[in-house]
Amino acid sequence: MEPLVATQPLTGFFWSWIVPVLLFVIAFGATWLLYKRFSKD
């Protein structure tokens, strides 16, 4: 199969680290808030 593009469009520290960390923090925070909200019933 031919590669779709010659060079990868997104590179660098921002895309490899900052974006995944932000997503992880959002998902972790959501879990924590959900648990806090529903476990006090």
Partner: protein, 632 residues
């Protein structure tokens, strides 16, 4: 296909651990009761069932088959995914009726709507069928995951079939439906992120919105940008008759229960909402987000087509979305992308493990084997049933290669000939258990004849599927309508109790009049002064009925869904009318909310005060099998 580094595996593992650990923690809530283990205690605000409806409409093989139809058909391929639009009317009709019935499952609902031996036969049949179906679906998606692992990383197929399922079983066994719905919410966040970023990167890599569309037109494939690129009324790859049949099945199907295979999964989400209003908004928002997601996918696949237009084999081009993610995303983000693929898979597995266990526990074990089981016993039975489903799914997965063709046929059978009876059981008071049973049996026989036997003998030509649908419907009706009219209606006591509890839509006149005569409900509530054309202040008694406000929303809802799905793709590719379609959809949504919310609040608030008494009654009914319960 994928070249992973340590950093990629780190992010895949981090998100996997978060999803499994986060969902597992809810085991403390799930162990309290049967209602907690299977319905999260019927206490969820609308956005949690909504994210779960989205997640259950996103299965492991969905990225492959959606990519397949979009690569083959262009924008008109989106209509193949429009079957999810049963949620447009379903949210305002069948979801409200089902939530009011308080049934855990569709099998249990059969005994509330019908009575006697016929109803018990239906309940046992549907429960057994659903236990089997959930095992089959688990095997199906397990093999799909096995193939993804093989294509991306050269793993043996069994790795993708077995390992993710065992990981999912950890939190599904411990936390039941609480774990499923929380896992779905988390997995929804990760999956939506992956779908949006791959779409943006793909369009940009294809030369931007104008670059993609210009390239497609240069290739002489401009028809791919037209969602209505019909090939004639009955001819070619995309006949208008297919499109009209699809619209009927999807849109009108919202009046019934079981008209889509997804109904059985979503019924659990509907029942887990904390009230009628939350059940309605949960199903509607989940369906809307699913179709918006399909719009994003379509834009990314059109970009993929512009970059790689000449792929002939379906097995190659349906990997288009996976290729976009693995080839265009940088180190690290590719790991998150695989985490999203795993998230989609985990949510599919957990949903079907818990749903199959629910049918086994509630409709087979508790109903027929141990009616007086305690909540502790029922939660443990739920866990045992989850394990049974797990083991059964591995067997299905291993023989999936040989049986696929037959099972796809069996699935098609289940849905085509039974579509109309599934609407009639909700909307026609006279339809009875024997009529519905006859419809199921006729369906099995007639479908066999129409699809296989008669064409083999040259009696019938081999019909395309959309014509088979209408023929199967007519032949089925020729059996179940006479059976219904030749047998007695359900006992009036049973019908009145069901009617007062659920207030169904459609032809229920005789039952309504009897309920009024008994003083259980008021007939047309009298008000002084003229009625405004669109009413927004309701008493609970008035809001129980169906009025022009409901019908206006029922008509507009599928229109909104179509505008959203097509509009999003056109907007992403900066096509004419894209922005206008999305703006129109948002405006119509706000209007529908303005119109129907006061009514839903009135009916929802009042119903919640009665729910506790109904629930006590329902539990007594479950625990005293074989004795008629005095419903007072």
């Amino acid at each position: 296909m994928a070249h992973f580094t340590i950093l990629d595996w780190f992010w895949t593992a981090a998100f996997l651990l978060l999803m499994v650990g986060g969902a597992f923690f809810f085991y403390r809530l799930a162990r309290r009761s049967e209602s907690d283990f299977f319905l999260a205690g019927r206490g969820l605000p609308w956005w949690l069932p909504a994210s779960s409806v989205f997640s259950t409409h996103t299965a492991t093989d969905t990225p492959m088959w959606i990519t397949g139809v979009l690569y083959a058909h262009g924008l008109r391929g989106l209509w193949y995914s429009f079957f999810a639009a049963w949620t447009a009317i379903g949210a305002f009709v069948s979801a409200r009726i089902f939530r009011r019935s308080l049934a855990y499952t569709q099998a249990e609902w059969q005994t509330l709507r019908f009575s006697g031996l016929g109803a018990e036969l239906l309940r046992g049949w549907l429960a057994g069928w659903q236990v089997f179906m959930n095992m089959f679906i688990l095997g199906w998606v397990g093999i799909a995951m096995g193939k993804v692992g093989q294509l991306a990383f050269d793993w043996p197929v069994w790795v993708g079939l077995v390992i993710p399922t065992l990981i999912t079983a950890l939190y599904t066994l411990a936390a039941g439906y609480w774990g499923v719905v929380m896992g779905d919410f988390l997995q929804g966040i990760v999956a939506v992120f992956a779908i949006v970023i791959v779409t943006v990167v793909a369009i940009s890599a294809g030369g931007g919105p104008e670059g993609v569309t210009t390239r497609i037109i240069e290739l002489g494939e401009g028809w791919r940008l037209d969602p209505f690129a019909f090939t004639g009324w009955f001819t070619g790859d995309f006949p208008a008759a297919w499109w009209l049949t699809m619209l009927v099945i999807a849109v009108i199907g919202g009046f019934g229960m079981g008209t889509s295979l997804d109904w059985y999964v979503e019924a659990q989400r509907i029942q887990s909402a904390k009230g009628l209003r939350d059940a309605t908004y949960g199903l509607w928002a989940g369906g809307a987000v699913t179709l918006i997601r399909n719009g994003f996918w379509a834009a990314s696949i059109l970009a993929f087509f512009a970059m790689a237009p000449g792929i002939a084999e379906q097995a190659d081009y349906e990997l288009g979305w996976f290729r976009l993610g693995f080839e265009l995303l940088p180190v690290g983000l590719a790991g998150v992308f695989f985490g999203a693929i795993l998230a989609i898979h985990l949510s599919t597995i957990s949903s079907h493990l818990n749903l199959g266990a629910l049918y086994f526990t509630r409709d087979l074990y508790q109903r027929y084997m141990k009616p007086d089981a305690t909540n502790t016993e029922l939660v443990w039975m739920g866990r045992v049933a989850t394990l049974v489903l797990l083991v059964g799914s591995f067997f299905y997965g291993m023989m999936m290669q040989e049986i696929t063709r037959w099972l796809i046929f069996a699935l098609w059978l289940m849905m085509a000939g039974i579509w109309l009876p599934n609407i009639l059981q909700v909307t026609w008071w006279r339809f009875n258990a024997w009529g519905y049973l006859a419809a199921w049996m006729a369906n099995l026989g007639v479908a066999w004849l129409v699809v296989w036997v008669l064409p083999a003998f040259g009696v019938l030509p081999e019909l395309p599927d959309y014509l088979q649908f209408w023929l199967l419907m007519a032949l089925g009706a020729a059996v179940f309508v006479p059976v219904t009219l030749l047998t007695k209606p359900e006992p009036m006591d049973h019908l009145v109790r069901y009617y007062v509890m659920t207030r169904p839509v459609g032809n229920w006149g005789p039952v309504h009049r009897e309920a009024v005569r008994r003083g259980l409900i008021e007939d047309e509530v009298k008000r002084t002064g003229p009625r405004p054309f669109l009413r927004r202040d309701w008493t609970p008694e008035e809001a129980d009925g169906w009025s022009r406000e409901d019908w206006l929303v029922i008509v507009l809802s599928p229109v909104i869904f179509a505008l959203l799905m097509i509009g999003v793709t056109k907007l992403l590719l900066l096509q004419p009318l894209g922005a206008a379609m999305v703006i129109a959809a948002v405006a119509l949504t706000l209007f529908c909310y303005w119109l129907i919310d006061p009514k839903l609040r009135a009916v929802s608030g009042e119903y919640e005060t009665r729910q506790a008494a109904y629930l006590d009654d329902l539990e007594v009914g479950v625990r005293t099998i074989g004795q008629e319960v005095d419903h007072g």
